[in-house]
Each structure stands twice: as C-alpha cells, then as structure tokens.
Point group: C2
Chain length 343, copies 2
C-alpha cells in the first residue's frame, strides 16, 4: 500500500484537501449490482462467508465511485457466531441469536474464536489486496464489545438495547465476563485481518449512545481501549478509527482514553462543535445524514457544504454519520462524490 493514499495520510494526521471519501455500508442494497449478487446467495451469513460474493460486493462501490477506501464486506456478528452463539438473519428482520441471560448461557460460548470459521473473512481480505486498485486502502473492522454484547444478551436488535443494559446493572460480573471474552476475541480477529492485508481498522460501537456515564466508561471506553492497546502491541503501524454512535461530548474522552487514531462522528454531532472542541490535529470522520443523501437536491448540497466548511484544511475523512440506506438513489451518491471532490 503506497503511504501516499489520501485516506492513510489523513489517518497519520495530515490535512489532505479535498478530503478522502468513503461511506459506511458503501457495499449494499442501494446498488443494483449488489442486489443482483445478493439474490444468488441464501442466508445473509452464507453470503458473508462466501469470499467470491464478499470480494465482489466490496469492489462494486470502488469500481462505480472510486472511493478513497474500501471496507471488507462482512458483519459484526460473525464474532459471536465464531464463539459458538450461532447467528441467523431473518429476511427483513435483522439478526437472531439465542440470548445469553445467565452464567449457563455464557458457559456455552467457546473460550476462543473458531478461526477456521472466520477463514472466509481473511480469504476475502487476501483476495481484495490482489484485486483492489493499488492506491485504495482496505479497512478491516469489528463491532465494539458493548455493541456486540448487547446483541448477544438481547438475541436481537432492540430500540435501546435495554436487555443488555439491565443485565449489566443486575449482574455486572457476568456482563464483564462477556465483554472480556469479546475484547480478547476482537484483538485476535483484528490482528488476523491485518495479517491478511487490512491497511486500517474501524471499531463500530453503534449502541454506545444508550449508555449513561459510568456505564459508558466501563462498557464502551475501557474495552475499546483494551482492543486498541492490544493492536498497538502487535501492529503499531495500523491506524484505528473508533466510531461510537451517540457518544456526544464524550468523544473527547473516547479519543483520549483509547488512543485511537481517528474518531467517527455520528449524524447528530455538530461538525463545528467537533472542530472547535476536539484537540488540534484530531483526525475526524463523518458525518453526513444518510437521509440528506436520500433527499438529494439543495438539502444534500447544503448538508455537504456545512461539513466541508467545518473541517476545511483539517485532517478529516468525509463519510456518512451512519450507514447508507437501501432507498438511496445512486445519482445522489454521484452528486456527493462530485461535491466532496470539489472540496
């Protein structure tokens, strides 16, 4: 990977303008070519474990839009799946797992990740390194322990992940064991992604925002810091982005305490507040509202303009504030690329 890729230069703290651009969930259902290959596979996880499919899905948005970074097509729930808590996705219903509600549920987990089960992810990364344009870095990722644990406890997504929050209050010892298992597993999983060829890593804490103070430190900040620290020991040159949706002003603490190279900003974060408040030189990533991308027109132009203005000539990676939605018109993504390339 040439060190000159704008995405990696920004992650190293260099302001590059216009900013590099990629989109969370850039490989996905808004693309007709994705829907075409997705229709060939059975379950969503079968698709995730089929390197022919995941390589093609990862490449599609790069071919079409020439984004400045690619991200391996996978899902955060492959980790519990590889810990023996089998995951299924009902069509249009989201994930389903057998909930872990007590120590016996926890004891049914594997002590360590089944790496053979995850081999298709590593195979995907190796193949992508051969097939991606030389200048396009590849991002590996995992879910943060809190977010992954919240699905493992609830057995599904819920409006505010209350089942995991309640378990963490009622039996903090058990919840800590789940989180520690995930910290250890995530370090091993991310290391293997780097070994396979990932140039950068992102940790997704989608559900961080439902945690009050105290719980946020314990279940979001500390486990993510432990993962970053584990990666630093083995792979100090690999940059790490932390995206904690709903962190609000706690972004500051998250950045400081985890030592991540960059922080993702969610849709609700005021880019001017972030530019003003985060320490000089903090690398940021975000944060266009995916609904502005669906709406297009003047609303899109204005929203993109606000973000560009806030981060002008700072080390910023342009992205959405949350994943792109299936209803997004491809023409609006083309417009986004045009606006960001103009700077």
């Amino acid at each position: 990977m040439p060190e000159t890729a704008p995405f990696l230069r920004v992650l190293a703290g260099e302001p590059v303008w216009p900013p590099p651009l990629w989109m969370m969930r850039q490989a996905g259902r808004y693309l007709p070519e994705y829907r075409a290959i997705r229709a060939q596979a059975g379950s969503f996880l079968a698709f995730c474990y089929d390197p022919a499919m995941t390589v093609e899905a990862t490449l599609q948005p790069i071919r079409r839009f020439g984004f400045d970074a690619s991200i391996v097509f996978s899902d955060i729930l492959v980790v519990p799946d590889a810990l023996g808590q089998r995951v299924t996705f009902e069509s249009g219903e989201g994930p389903r797992l057998t909930p872990i509600t007590d120590g016996r549920g926890f004891d049914r987990l594997r002590e360590t990740l089944d790496m053979a089960h995850l081999e298709p992810v590593f195979a995907t990364i190796r193949r992508l390194k051969a097939e991606l344009p030389a200048a396009t870095p590849l991002i590996g990722f995992c879910g943060a322990p809190w977010t992954v644990a919240s699905y493992m406890v609830a057995g599904r997504g819920t409006p505010d992940q209350a089942p995991a929050r309640l378990l963490a209050y009622r039996d903090a010892g058990l919840f800590r064991r789940i989180v520690e298992r995930l910290v250890a597993s995530s370090i091993i999983y991310l290391r293997a992604q780097v070994e396979a060829g990932a140039d950068a890593l992102q940790i997704f804490d989608t559900w961080a925002g439902v945690l009050p103070t105290g719980e946020f430190e314990r279940w979001c900040v500390e486990p993510v810091a432990a993962i970053v620290s584990g990666l630093r020991e083995s792979h100090p040159a690999t940059p790490i982005i932390v995206f904690a949706r709903g962190a609000g002003p706690r972004l500051l603490e998250l950045k400081d305490a985890t030592g991540a190279d960059a922080v993702g900003l969610d849709t609700a974060t005021d880019p001017h507040w972030a530019a003003r408040t985060l320490p000089e030189g903090t690398v940021t990533q975000g944060n266009l509202d995916p609904l502005a991308l669906i709406a297009g027109g003047r609303a899109l132009d204005a929203a993109v303009g606000r973000i560009l203005a806030a981060f002008r000539h700072r080390p910023h990676i342009f992205n959405l504030g949350h994943g792109i939605l299936p209803e997004t018109p491809v023409a609006h993504v083309e417009r986004l690329v045009e606006l960001v390339r103009r700077g």
Copy 2:
C-alpha cells in the same frame, strides 16, 4: 403557590440541597393504583380527556412519594388531536394518526386549536390546584414542535422519525408550515395552562437527538425559542424547562438561544460534563437512567450517587433521564426518594 417551594426556588436559580425531586411519567403504569383506574376507562385519549381520571392519576405519585412537583396527566399528542388530526392509541402499539405527507394533508388541519376540545386539560389543572398540597407546584407541558410534527408526518413513532426528517429535507416549506402551526398552537395551549393554574412549564423535545446540525437549529432550537418568547410576553414569571433528548453538547446552544430557565438532561448526558460545561448558575434537571431504577440495588445507589456528586450545591432538580418504565418496582422508587432526600 408559596415561592418557597424548593422546585420553584431552584428554577429561580437558587441551589437547594438536597435537590427537589420528581420523575418524568411519575403518574403511570408502574403504580398499581394507576393500573386500577386506567382499567376503568376505554381508550388512552378518553382517559386523558376525563378530568376525574387525570386528577386522580396526577395525585397518586404525590400521595405515595411526596414528590416536589406534580405534572398534569396528559399526552403531547392532544395538540394535533385538537388541530383536527385525530389521534388514536392502539393498546400496546403507541399512537396512530393519518400521516400528513403533502400540502393537502396540511390543509385539512384546523387553523387554530379547538380549545373546547382541550377544556378537560384546563379543568384538570384547575381541580389539581384545589386538591394538591399547597406546597406542591404543578407543571403544565407540551411537546416541542419538532417532536409533535414528527408524529404528525409519520403517523406513528418510528426508530428515528425518518419520515419527518425526509419531508423536512424534501419540502422544507411545507414542513415549516406544520412547525409554525405548532408554535402558534403551543403558545396558546401553554398560556391557557398557566391561566388555569400551572406554576411551571416543560417542553418535551423527545426526538431532538435525531436531527443533524442545521436541522437542529431550524426545527428544534428556533421553534422552542419562539414558544418561550411567546410565553415571556404574556407570563414572564412562569419558569420554563426544556428537555431535548439527544441534544448532547448542543444543550449549551439550546439554553442560550431559547432563554429557557432550565434544561433537562437525558440519560446519556454526563452530569460532570454538564456541571463543568454549562454556564455557572444554569439550572439543570435529570438524569437517572430509568433502567438503573428497574435494576435497583447497588447499581441504583451508585447511579444516584454519581448524579448527586456532580450537582452538589448547584441549582439542580433530580429527575430521570427519560420517563419511568412500567416494569419499575415501586420499592425502587422508594429507595430513590430516600437516597435523594439524604442528599
């Protein structure tokens, strides 16, 4: 109302310790005596429009716990209901309205609130003033225009109120007309509540957190500021609390731009951040996690302790960070009262 009520003294900026205490949705399903009277009525809105029921529901938590403020039992959606967009509540399903998706939908609204339709709310307030303990202030309330509009557009609650956000992007002119109708209606509605006897007002912007910058200013801050300003003109002595869930660091702007007397803090707001960052003397309210109240035990004690420590000897009103949940054990509320009274 004696000016010496701790709740009103804090709203006037005086630090009162231990802090006054009330709970959002303190009249509700976690109370057996509420479930008993609720079972007698038909629909939820019929219950809201029956002063015998709403007076009793409002008084129940005051009798049981001696809270420092009462809040009239009602619902934020009585406003669209009184604008002719009839609201129903399916059992266990939340509200249902005929969605406003275009100008014709908007044109079917009444130009002004049907005040006769809302008369039961004002009757409830008048009766409560006679029946409440002399030292217990009564809070009137309404939903903020953004939150109410988000239900009027979607016709229901959704995980992120996307239908209203999309309409606001696609047809800002139409969305502005809805919001302006709500601003004018809310001013009239709150004024009538004060005339009937409300001692303080709270404006609930439950869905503020889904709005990105720009949209937050336009649809949350400006309309709430217009309502506060309207009330200041007619009733300058009535204190106003603004609760914008998910406002994050934008609380600062909300407080400054609206001129509200106090800001409510949601569950995710770090109390230490708020105490450190909001201007000296800012009156705050909140922000115990309702799930800590369900969990009880050491988790509850620790969570209450953190909030008391952050706001010690500042003008703070102890409350939850969101409404109390139906599964909450009454004994845990008793413990909360004991902990807060101890200071």
